[in-house]
């Protein structure tokens, strides 16, 4: 195969010769291994390899992008030419020539630290482990379906730009989860997942599997799935709400991360993913949350699923504030959008594989921990509910309101956790909700939860993001139907 540096020279020179004022190339090789078992049998074992390159070009002041799976000299030239041709077509509908925020020229490499390369563990060892978990889940009477899965990914990326950057990155990620389902009738189902409904994903190696401590959680997971069937319905009314980590992670993702994507704020997603209420006039003015709400974007967080060395524009990863003491102070930006708010890009551009355009994506969106013990958080609640684990969610296209469903919950009465409740739901307005936050647990409870399937863009792109948090409390939230 052609050397990547040589390939990038061919592509970038070709783009320049056709009239590109800027170009970059990403050569990406992704290997996935997915294993899932269900009720004592392997449901799917799959190895997946996707390799190709994508070229971005600016010509006549507008963007073009072309990509191909065939890396050879002729095709590099052909694809670079197509990227320029597409850019020239784009320029027929432009207002101004594109201006990119400057970026430091980098010649660098990055590898995330991994203790155990998951691809060195034999397949049968992984399968046997999952089948053992599946068996443990089905030990509890009443479980009708048990599942367990592992996913592993290694991604090699080579980025080169006409500005002289050349960056190689290798990122290994692992994910795993278990789930138990109990059914009473065709209309009633109890489902529990651990650690979350998507399991847990981190930028780690096989060591993650042991860290998640599945064996000790199988029995509890199954017992709760069965117990949900006879639990009481979620009460309705305005109550205090306490969210566990995984549920709060989704809340951060949907009602802080997405609304603060600057492309979205500027209307780039209007036709599909939608817009954002957090418009530019609100920067440094909007009280997004209570004083204790401090949120950063941090692609440098060790092990976070949204961690990397450089984004797909060659911008070095760095931690930046988004919400400080409740005030909106930042957005997720790109080289194209950052100049509009007179800053440099904070490195939030990523593409799904080689065949898609980089767009603004969350990295690790982190709600900084507070100082509560979980018991104290609960003890100050007279009438409320505590909920765990994402079940379903729906957010309006301007990210102003949301409706969330969880797998399980418990009533909180007079400072103590009480009876179990099934199908807990809550809803609210984004800004009112975050301003009602009056307690966040401490560092002791903090974890970055991985989301392996964040969808955005046309054509649809999938991104891997992280959300860091400790459990938190919100007052006067509408719960139940």
């Amino acid at each position: 195969m052609i050397d990547f540096k040589k390939a990038s020279e061919i592509a970038l020179n070709s783009a320049k010769s056709k009239g590109a004022s800027y170009s970059d190339i990403r050569i990406v090789d992704i290997e996935d291994e997915n294993i899932s078992v269900k009720n004592g049998a392997a449901e799917l074992i799959e190895k997946n390899n996707s390799f190709g390159f994508g070229i971005r070009a600016i010509a006549d002041g507008a963007w073009g992008f072309a990509s191909s799976a065939d890396l050879n000299e002729d095709n590099l030239k052909k694809t670079a030419d197509l990227a320029v041709k597409i850019a020239i077509a784009s320029s027929k509908l432009k207002k101004n020539d594109l201006v990119l925020a400057p970026v430091t020229r980098s010649i660098d490499s990055y590898k995330n630290p991994v203790q155990i390369d998951p691809f060195t563990i034999p397949l049968n060892e992984k399968l046997d482990y999952l089948l053992a978990l599946d068996q443990l889940l089905r030990k509890t009477e009443g479980i009708t379906t048990a599942t367990a899965f592992m996913d592993f990914r290694i991604e090699h990326k080579f980025f080169s730009s006409s500005e002289g950057s050349q960056i190689e990155q290798t990122i290994i990620q692992s994910g795993a989860g278990i789930e138990a389902t109990a059914m009473k009738s065709r209309r009633e189902m109890g489902k529990r997942s651990y650690p979350d409904s998507n399991g847990q994903y981190e930028s780690k190696g096989y060591e993650l599997i042991k860290e998640l401590n599945f064996e000790e959680n199988c029995e509890k997971t199954s017992q709760q799935a069965v117990a949900i069937l006879s639990a009481k319905e979620c009460p309705s009314g305005t109550k205090t709400l306490v969210l566990n980590g995984p549920q709060l992670s989704l809340q951060i993702h949907e009602s802080i991360g997405h609304p603060l994507e600057l492309d979205r704020v500027l209307g780039a997603e209007k036709n599909f993913s939608g817009t954002s209420f957090a418009t530019l006039d609100k920067l440094n003015k909007l009280k997004y949350g209570a004083d204790i709400v401090n949120v950063v974007t941090d692609p440098t967080y060790p092990g976070g699923l949204g961690s990397f060395g450089y984004d797909d524009e060659g911008v070095k990863a760095e931690r930046k504030e988004l919400i400080k003491n409740g005030l909106l102070v930042g957005y997720l930006t790109s080289r194209e959008t950052a100049p509009l708010i007179k800053i440099l890009s904070n490195g939030s551009m990523r593409a799904d594989g080689w065949g898609n355009i980089p767009i603004i994506r969350m990295t690790n969106t982190i709600l900084l921990p507070g100082n509560y013990n979980f018991e104290d958080l609960i003890s100050e609640v007279e009438d409320g509910i505590y909920v765990e684990t994402v079940s379903s969610w729906s957010i309006d296209d301007n990210r102003e309101n949301f409706q969330m469903g969880c797998q399980i919950g418990w009533e909180i009465k007079n400072g103590k956790l009480g009876e179990m409740i099934k199908n807990p739901t809550y809803s609210g307005n984004t800004v009112e909700f975050w301003n009602s936050c009056d307690g966040i647990c401490s560092e002791k409870y903090f974890k970055v939860w991985g989301t392996p399937n964040c969808g955005k863009g046309q054509p649809g792109q999938n991104a891997r993001t992280g959300q860091g948090c400790s459990p938190a409390r919100f007052r006067n939230v509408k719960v139940g139907s």
Binding site: I86, A89, R187, K270, F272, N356, S394, P459
Partner: protein, 440 residues
């Protein structure tokens, strides 16, 4: 794009590399273009050429799946070898019987040369029409104009040999100003059928009509769902229960032979309908059958792939998805039988109701009861005394789909082809009573 001869030559070669008991190879090729615009400019504009081979190897009752997009000799050899290695490490699946057998599928004309040859400049011209129509009305245009050519070819060691080449053209756009917003979409196998002017005029009119929206309280209303909103409900219904896997696991609402919706609802899966011209076989190469899912409100059938057909002692209906998924079989070309009304007549017959253009972020609240939530979007209007009175701020629904389909008073004669998440649906607009909203 790969010709039939070339695609099958690659797959034949791959089969020869395998010493598994049974082997299946699926080849997917795409030539994909999408021009995206927002704020009246083209801001993202892309092309992608990709090809993928998925190998499924069978050793007794053990299966392995491997996927690659390297389709040279070395790549094909490796993907077959990987699938066999995985199968060797597998455990027996007692429910697996065999890969399927199937004869050649009927000829379906899904390819259009003009669509295949459509250029970035052609797409930019379509976008410009939309932008011009928006600017004339002091509105802002955003959308996506997509053209693509796909090849899907399947071969297995039991004799299946299939090849299908298809084109798709899809234009969706949102035209807006502040709170005002209108949306429209069109899909065709032939790009010449995409009328950017007509489409943008629809969205412009909706945007202009949606000024000064009023806020309505949650509660029960009569609604008129335009076709895209009906399609979102149908898509979710399929997700919740039209597949043989969800059905056999008891997770589906479907009750065969029992009344599950109103008498006026008939839903058919039919890739052969001329409006669909869909791929006539599934991703394991089995020729597709037309399947009646609901007939006059009675649950009639679900779709199967070979695995769930064997498990349920029935025949595959030709609805396998790609082998690297665990979702099970799925319908991809659904039609709802039309009524005999028009949108204008439905509005005129409504004393008080809400007209909905489309939904956003539909997700389930209670899957067993087909209860979903989501919001209205880009054109929601209050109807009073048979006329559109004003725009309405977006509202959040909380509604069982089966209950909604039990309360359909009227449907339009005309239907629209709606593409959503890889599924094509040909559906009428519906007037539905007792439709529940849970918030703003």
């Amino acid at each position: 794009m790969l010709s039939k001869e070339k695609a099958l030559e690659i797959l034949e070669k791959g089969l020869k590399y395998s010493d598994a008991d049974q082997t299946e190879l699926l080849l997917l090729e795409e030539d994909f273009y999408l021009t995206r615009f927002a704020e009246n400019i083209i801001h993202q504009n892309m092309g992608r050429a990709d090809h993928t081979v998925m190998a499924r190897a069978v050793l007794g009752k053990k299966l392995g799946v491997a996927v690659t997009n390297k389709i040279d000799d070395e790549g094909i050899k490796k993907v077959v070898k990987d699938a066999i290695e995985i199968a060797k490490n597998q455990k027996d699946d007692p429910d697996f019987v065999s890969l399927p057998k199937s004869g050649p599928a009927p000829e379906v004309q899904g390819f259009d040369k003009d669509t295949h040859n459509y250029s970035p400049d052609d797409r930019a011209r379509g976008v410009k029409i939309s932008v011009d129509n928006s600017q004339k009305n002091n509105l802002i245009s955003a959308g996506a104009f997509q053209t693509e050519t796909d090849v899907t070819s399947v071969a297995n060691s039991l004799g299946i040999r299939q090849y299908f080449q298809e084109t798709k053209a899809n234009f969706s756009l949102t035209i807006s100003r502040d709170e005002q917003s209108g949306w429209a979409q069109a899909f065709s196998r032939k790009v010449k059928n995409i009328d950017a002017d007509k489409l943008s005029q629809i969205a412009v009119q909706k945007a202009l009509s949606s000024a000064k929206p009023v806020e309505l309280p949650p509660g029960e209303y009569t609604v008129i769902l335009e076709e895209a909103a009906v399609a979102s409900f149908l898509l979710f219904l399929a997700f919740l229960g039209f597949g043989g896997k969800t059905f056999s696991e008891g997770r589906s609402f479907m009750k065969i032979g029992e009344k599950i919706t109103g008498d006026n609802i008939t839903i058919i899966e039919d890739p052969y309908d001329p409006v669909m011209n869909g791929m006539p076989y599934d991703y394991e190469g089995v020729t597709k059958k037309k399947v009646v899912l609901i007939e006059n409100g009675i649950g009639k059938g679900v779709v199967y792939n070979s695995y769930y057909a064997n498990k349920n002692k029935t025949e595959s209906t030709g609805h396998a998805l790609q082998p690297n998924n665990t979702f099970g079989p799925y319908p991809k070309n659904m039609l709802i039988s039309p009524g005999n009304s028009t949108l204008e007549e439905m509005i005129a017959s409504t004393e008080k109701g809400i007209l909905i253009t489309h939904f956003w972020y539909i997700n389930y609240m209670n899957p067993m009861k087909t209860q979903v939530t989501g919001t209205t979007r880009d054109g929601t209007f209050l109807i009073e005394k048979g006329k559109i009175k004003s725009a309405v701020k977006n509202m959040r629904i909380g509604q069982s789909i089966l209950e909604a389909f039990s309360n359909v008073e009227l449907m339009t004669k005309g239907r629209l082809l709606c593409p959503q998440y890889g599924v094509l649906m040909y559906v009428p607009a519906m007037k539905i009573n007792k439709f529940n909203f849970i918030g703003g």
